[in-house]
Assembly symmetry: C2
DNA sequence: CGAGGAGGCATGACGTCGCTATGTTTTATG
DNA sequence: CATAAAACATAGCGACGTCATGCCTCCTCG
């Protein structure tokens, strides 16, 4: 191949194209290998080293991309007048995002390495913190509730469920466990049991029911 | 076709030695590679194929070993007259086991959850189920509580916490979150709040405090 | 305006990975 | 003892991630 009409400047489009392609290969359960990644893209293996430094850099960027998408999904959750319902909606969005592409979710967390830029992850968690704070000022939660702590608890439940479903031990239907678990958590924070249950169920209502289409295909 | 069962006996000692060695390499964060695994053991690479069929078979066996150890740890938890305390103890044992060797824990739950023999995993979960049943018959939980469901909820909390701590997002101290979370869960099952809190704290008391060196700073 | 440094990129090679074809040794069985 | 099969060692294969080399384009400065 000749070097005709090729832009010499580092092209961000190439970078995101490689990232999208890697994410797609992950979603379709093809092994994400350097040579397979660049095959058909017209670029050579060295491009990966130009944009990501190493294969590990690509995984790190993929992880970052995952957190960025997650933060966007959580930020897109509409705020209603019922902050507890919103909390459940955030949980539903978290789980929906995780199981939309379970392999990307695994990549986000199976890391021994840390994020280059933790802003996206922090922003995602902060969505939860804000919702807890809204619930506090609305009088749904006790005054001594630590928003960060309760948000972390919600996250733990969501992650535990997402992880167990994404890796196989629990079936897809087990996602429904989130409703009683979150209800128990929010009631322990001071919310009224029956009201809480209703709020959580409403918030969870935006979670699409278990569809067989999202099951991981076995090629 | 049926191969003769009286095949030449393989040496189980070699098999478990390889497994132990792999587990040790995992714990010391050395890459578990076929050649590195057999280096120094006097056996050749083919031995791995004799005993495990493939490298993937070794990972599967390692996963099995992890669940067997976990089931043993849970079975070793003493039963007291306070079943809720026992539940918390089981949770503490679960987390202690997971963070004793986080890499093995990751292997247990990483992609492709396929166990040859799911008995160990089932037995581990059944420890929880039995504890919930004991709590029910002791009148601590409501009669309409589904033991398997509540056990799954406890597992989800334990796994979420273990996973987030083992992979880095949460610091080691975050394990203490288990106490309020489990309390909230058990209270939602019908236990008395203050009594439950006391039981969980007692059961959790057997959890060793945060050990040094495993701290994962969160930015 | 035109030489030259700088950097993106293709090519090809290197070391290691999991795996296996092949031949040898060991064991069980007639 | 002879023979078949299992366990094993050795050497090699293809694929992997990585990097040294050199070509090509762009930017800059004399």
């Amino acid at each position: 191949m000749f070097y005709d009409a090729m832009a010499r400047a580092k092209d961000p489009a190439v970078r995101s194209h490689l990232l999208d392609r890697a994410a797609h290969m992950l979603r379709t359960r093809q092994p994400v290998t350097l040579r397979a990644l660049v095959a058909g893209t017209g670029v050579s293996t060295m491009a990966v080293y130009t944009y990501f430094g190493s294969m590990d850099g690509l995984w790190k960027a993929l992880r970052q991309e995952g957190f960025t998408r997650l933060a966007a999904k959580l930020a897109a959750v509409s705020t209603t007048t019922d902050p507890v319902r919103d909390l459940a909606s955030l949980g539903a969005a978290y789980l929906a995002n995780a199981l939309e592409s379970p392999d990307l979710y695994r990549v986000m967390f199976d890391a021994g390495f840390e994020l280059e830029d933790a802003d996206a992850a922090d922003e995602a968690l902060h969505c939860l913190v804000r919702a807890v704070e809204r619930a506090k000022t609305a009088g749904r939660f006790r005054g001594d509730v630590d928003p960060l702590e309760l948000a972390t608890h919600s996250w733990t439940i969501g992650h535990g469920l997402a992880s167990l479903v994404a890796t196989g031990p629990l079936p897809h239907q087990a996602l429904a466990h989130a409703v009683p678990m979150l209800t128990a958590l929010f009631v322990s924070a001071g919310d009224d049991p029956v009201r809480c249950r209703r709020s959580v169920e409403r918030g969870w209502g935006q979670m699409p029911p278990a569809g067989p289409g999202t099951a991981a295909p076995r090629p």
